[in-house]
Structures are given as structure tokens and as C-alpha cells.
């Protein structure tokens, strides 16, 4: 198991390397000149050139890329073109708000989706099942920025229960994490339902019932455990969507997280920040996929890896 884990971890390096090349090349193809942006509209051509020299943007692309990799290896993500602040410090500051937002969203949506999905599967065909599945399709189709605005309208503007934007106290987490998790909850409910229905047709479920186990034990222990493999895969995929979705939700709630940082950086052509952020988002996504693969082994002993 450990051996497998290490091998998979090592396999991430070439993928990250590939992504770093893509990201670097793409970002340097961005329209707009950062040296011009920084020097200001009124600056003369000489002033722009001196800014370019100071930022080392005048050197060949390959040299810049090698520098970028060297710095990356030592944990130096460069300095922001806009604020002159180290990128690592900016990311460190924005990381925790996004982390809490994602964790809260994932926690409620997984739990809710799993339970709703199992109940729907057990009561298959009942009015409750139909209502639940309609809600689920609605959740999948709901633009999360609209949901966020509706919640804000009702709970912040009309009722005044929570603030409309920013992250100053824990209660500020409530509306953004509901918004961010809604789509995931909907997908998970739908997916768990069909996974449990599939498993319920298996012989071992009939055996479990035949030997007189209580229905609760049959469903929650035997059926759910075996339905969990596809469900965990789906949950891992959802985490990736959550990372992307958080950018939009952060914009709705003016959340001081990684998403807002990325959008600001894109608008200002802040290469260093965009580069670092996309690398970070990719790394997170790859690590989550790895974690999901490792989880399989724990859930189902039959597929422990050699």
C-alpha cells in the first residue's frame, strides 16, 4: 500500500511538469503588457523598458521558465507584479478563507447528499423520491451565483441575519458554503441513489435479508458500503468542481480567498500570481484524485493494491 502510494506520488511529478509548461506558455501569451500596465499609461517607452528590465521580463522565455522552475523548487513563487509582495504571502493569506469555505461546503453537501440518496433509493417510486429527485435536478441546474444572490437577498437584505460580503466572523461562512455545496449535494444525492439501487439487486443483499437481518442493517451496512466505491469517485470529482465553483461564489460574496485573488490577478495580468494559483489548483486536484484512489483500498479490501 505504501509502495503504491509513493509510486503514484512520484507519477504526479511529470504531470505537474507538463502543467507548468502549459501554464507558463499560456500566461506569457496573454494579451496586454504588464510592464506598460505597471509603468502607467503616461510613461515613456524608456520608462516602460526599464520596468521590463527590472522585472526580468526582457529575458528569453526559456530563461524565464527555468528561473520559474528553480524558484518553484525552493518554494519561492516570485513577487506580485502589482503589489510587490511575495506571492507565497498573498496565497497564504487567501488560503484559509477558501479552505474553510470548501470544507464547510463539502461536509454538509456530502453528508446531506449521501443520506438523501439512500433514503430516496429505499423509498424508490414514492412521492418523496420523485420530489427529491426533482430537487436534485434543480440543484444541478441552478447557477450557483444566482442561488447565492437569492440567499443574500432573503437572509441579508430582507432579514438582516448575516452580512452580505467578506469574511469577518464564522457566521459569514453560512451563506457561501450553502451556495457552494448545493450543486454537489444534488449530484451526490442522485448518484448515491442510483448506486444503492444497483447494489440492492445483488445476491448478497438477498442473502442478508434471508438470514433475517434488520432492514436498517441491510441498507446502511451492506448496501451502502458496497455502493460507496462509485460514490467516493464521484465525491472526488466533485471536489474539483468545488475548487472551480468557489471562484464564482467568492465573487458573489466578495470572499477574500484564492478565487478573488485569481480574478484580480487575471484582470491585472499579474503573471506570478496567476501562474502560482493555477499550479496550486492543479496540485490540489491531483492530490485529491490520489486520495480518492487510496480510499478505495480502505473501503474495499478486495482491491488493495500490490
Amino acid at each position: 500500500m505504501l509502495h503504491y502510494f509513493l509510486r503514484r506520488l512520484a507519477a504526479l511529478v511529470p504531470v505537474l511538469f507538463l502543467i507548468s509548461i502549459f501554464v507558463f506558455l499560456f500566461i506569457h501569451a496573454l494579451p496586454g503588457d504588464p510592464a506598460r500596465l505597471l509603468a502607467g499609461e503616461a510613461a515613456t517607452q524608456e520608462e516602460v523598458e526599464s520596468v521590463r528590465k527590472a522585472l526580468k521580463l526582457d529575458r528569453p522565455l526559456l530563461t524565464q521558465y527555468v528561473d520559474f522552475l528553480k524558484n518553484l523548487a525552493t518554494g519561492d513563487l516570485g513577487t506580485s507584479l502589482r503589489t510587490g509582495e511575495p506571492v507565497s504571502a498573498m496565497i497564504a493569506r487567501a488560503f484559509m478563507p477558501t479552505f474553510w469555505l470548501s470544507v464547510c461546503a463539502l461536509a454538509w453537501s456530502l453528508l446531506f447528499g449521501l443520506v438523501a440518496g439512500v433514503i430516496s433509493a429505499v423509498r424508490r417510486g414514492s412521492p418523496g423520491d420523485h420530489a427529491g429527485m426533482f430537487l436534485s435536478v434543480s440543484g444541478i441546474s441552478m447557477p450557483n451565483f444566482w442561488l447565492g444572490l437569492l440567499l443574500m437577498q432573503f437572509f441579508s437584505v430582507n432579514l438582516g441575519w448575516v452580512g452580505t460580503s467578506g469574511f469577518d466572523e464564522p457566521s459569514d461562512l453560512i451563506l457561501p458554503s450553502i451556495t457552494l455545496g448545493a450543486g454537489v449535494a444534488a449530484v451526490m444525492a442522485r448518484f448515491t441513489r442510483s448506486a444503492v439501487i444497483d447494489v440492492a439487486r445483488e445476491d448478497f443483499i438477498r442473502t442478508a435479508r434471508a438470514k433475517g437481518l434488520r432492514e436498517k442493517v441491510v441498507i446502511w451496512k451492506h448496501a451502502l458500503r458496497n455502493a460507496l466505491i462509485p460514490v467516493v469517485t464521484m465525491a472526488g470529482l466533485q471536489f474539483g468542481f468545488l475548487l472551480g465553483g468557489s471562484i464564482v461564489v467568492e465573487k458573489v460574496f466578495r470572499w477574500p480567498g484564492l478565487g478573488s485573488l485569481l480574478l484580480d490577478a487575471i484582470n491585472f495580468r499579474d503573471y506570478a500570481v496567476v501562474q502560482a494559483e493555477i499550479m496550486l489548483f492543479s496540485l490540489q486536484f491531483l492530490l485529491i484524485n490520489l486520495a480518492v484512489d487510496m480510499l478505495y483500498g480502505f473501503i474495499n479490501p478486495a482491491i488493495r493494491y500490490k
Binding site: 447557477p143 475548487l243 465553483g245 464564482v248
Partner: protein, 298 residues
């Protein structure tokens, strides 16, 4: 009763032969929700297309004496900060969103289907390359990939279409590849090969029809997702110009006035996105049930 049925010979009910299409229609029509969704989408598209001739207001007509007014008999969804009729703007947005959705998914589907067919049929290094690229594309969550692409190419309608098309490609490639892997081992493909049919004919005439059902279902569902992504891009300021009558852009500017109590600026455009995407998803579900012979009727 029981005795009677025991003694009478079992006569199977004669099944009338149905063509695949009439079978499809029978299954599809029984799913009323899907039918209603398809009807709603057609109705909205039709209204959007004839709007210029039936609505008293254009989507970009200013009326400074009548700004930010709520829904009324004259302005069904109210007016925005420039006094523009929101209902007219929503219909214009419908036209735009459907256009973006159809075009981007079509581009993504064509590239993905060809790549998937080639990868599945020839296998080997071609398969490795196609799957490796789609793995890398998959490593980026859709919206993140789209944001990255628009960040590189710049904001604007064309680039949004390209961004949304690119992130549709890997999914189509995977579906078609796995279908092709199964179909290329079938007897009829082997027979075609034995009869000397060229590879291109085998791929497009014999294998493609077999995977087309899955492609159509996915195509329909993907349009909903694409509309969501495109409106999200506009909402975060990376899509169309903020002044364009597009759903995401309308929500983005409406947010400012919502805090001042003007709910209708965000409510109606959002409702339009929601209903449109919902209908595409329900339609896709219905198509899947109708096209997938493995599923039971109940």
C-alpha cells in the same frame, strides 16, 4: 382461475415489430416532463427570435425617466438602471445563450467524437496521446479551465465559445473511445473488415452509429452545462461586455442594485438561466431513457 391458466398453453402476445425510431418515440413520449421541457425550450427560442417584432421595447432602449422600476403591466420584469426593459433583455439573452451553448458544444462534440473514434479504433500511441491530453484537460475543473482560456485569449463572445468548446472535448472523446473499444470487436465490424471496407468507412459508417445515442444524450446535457459556464464567465467579468444583454452580465450589474432592495434586476435573469438549464437536463434525462435499450420501461 389458476387451474385454467395452468392448462391453457402459453401463448406469447404477438409483438408488433417496431422500427428503432418508433420505439424511441414511444419511450420518449411517455416521459412527459422531457416533452414539456423540449416544448418550453422551443417556445423560448421562438419568442426570442420574434421578440423584435412583438415587444414594444428593444433590449438596448434607454428610458431615463423610468429607471429601476419594478415589474408592471408595461414592463413585465421591470427596468434596469438605464430604464431598459428587463424582459426584452432576457429574451435577447436567451438567443445569445442558446447560440453559445449549441455552437460551443457542437465544436467540442465534433472534435471529441473524431478524437475518440481514432483513439479507440487504432489504439497504440495515438490512443495514449489522446487519452493523456484529455487527462490533462480533465485535471482542470471545467470552469477553471474556461477561466484560464478566457484569461489567455481575452474576454469576449468568441473566446467564451472557444473556452466552453475546449472543455467539452475530453468528455466526448472518452465516451466515444470506450464505445468504440467495445464495438470494434463485434462480429459485424469484423465482417466489414473481412469484406475489405476501408478503416474510415468502418469507423464512420459502422462504429459511429453505435455510439451516436450516447453522444446525443451527452450533447443535450452538455448544452445546459455550457450555458451555466458561459453565464458564470460573464458574471465574473470574463465573458461578454458588461453592457451586453446577456444573463450573466445582467446578474453581475444587478448585484449592486440588489443590496439597495431592487430584487428584480437579479431575480428574472437568474430564473431564465435556471429554467433553461433545467429543461436541457430533463430533456437529456428523457433522451437517455428513450435511447438506452438497457433500461427498463419502469
Amino acid at each position: 382461475m389458476a387451474l385454467a391458466s395452468d392448462t391453457s398453453p402459453v401463448v406469447p402476445k404477438e409483438k408488433t415489430a417496431r422500427s428503432p425510431f418508433s420505439e424511441f418515440r414511444r419511450r420518449f413520449v411517455t416521459r412527459r416532463a422531457a416533452l414539456a421541457s423540449g416544448f418550453f425550450l422551443l417556445l423560448m427560442l421562438a419568442m426570442a427570435l420574434i421578440a423584435p417584432w412583438i415587444l414594444p421595447f428593444g433590449p438596448d432602449e434607454f428610458d431615463y425617466r423610468n429607471t429601476l422600476s419594478g415589474p408592471s403591466a408595461l414592463h413585465w420584469a421591470g427596468t434596469d438602471e438605464f430604464g431598459r426593459d428587463i424582459f426584452a433583455r432576457i429574451l435577447n439573452g436567451a438567443k445569445l445563450s442558446m447560440f453559445i451553448g449549441f455552437l460551443s458544444v457542437t465544436i467540442g462534440a465534433v472534435i471529441g467524437v473524431v478524437a475518440g473514434l481514432l483513439a479507440g479504433y487504432y489504439g497504440g500511441w495515438l490512443d495514449s496521446i489522446v487519452m493523456r491530453i484529455s487527462d490533462v484537460l480533465f485535471a482542470f475543473p471545467g470552469i477553471l479551465l474556461a477561466i484560464g482560456i478566457v484569461a489567455i485569449l481575452g474576454a469576449g463572445l468568441t473566446n467564451v465559445i472557444i473556452a466552453v468548446a475546449v472543455f467539452s472535448v475530453p468528455a466526448f472523446a472518452r465516451i466515444v473511445r470506450s464505445g468504440t473499444l467495445g464495438l470494434k470487436e463485434t462480429t459485424y465490424v469484423e465482417a466489414a473488415r473481412a469484406a475489405g471496407a476501408p478503416n474510415a468507412i468502418i469507423m464512420f459508417r459502422h462504429i459511429l452509429p453505435g455510439v451516436l445515442g450516447a453522444v446525443i444524450v451527452y450533447f443535450t446535457m452538455r448544452i445546459g452545462t455550457s450555458i451555466l459556464t458561459a453565464t458564470s464567465l460573464s458574471f465574473i467579468g470574463l465573458g461578454v461586455e458588461p453592457s451586453v444583454a446577456e444573463w450573466g452580465a445582467m446578474l453581475s450589474t444587478g448585484r449592486e442594485y440588489m443590496l439597495a432592495g431592487k430584487w428584480h434586476l437579479t431575480f428574472f435573469p437568474g430564473l431564465a438561466i435556471f429554467l433553461t438549464v433545467l429543461c436541457f437536463n430533463i430533456l437529456g434525462d428523457g433522451l437517455r431513457d428513450a435511447l438506452d435499450p438497457k433500461l427498463d420501461d419502469n
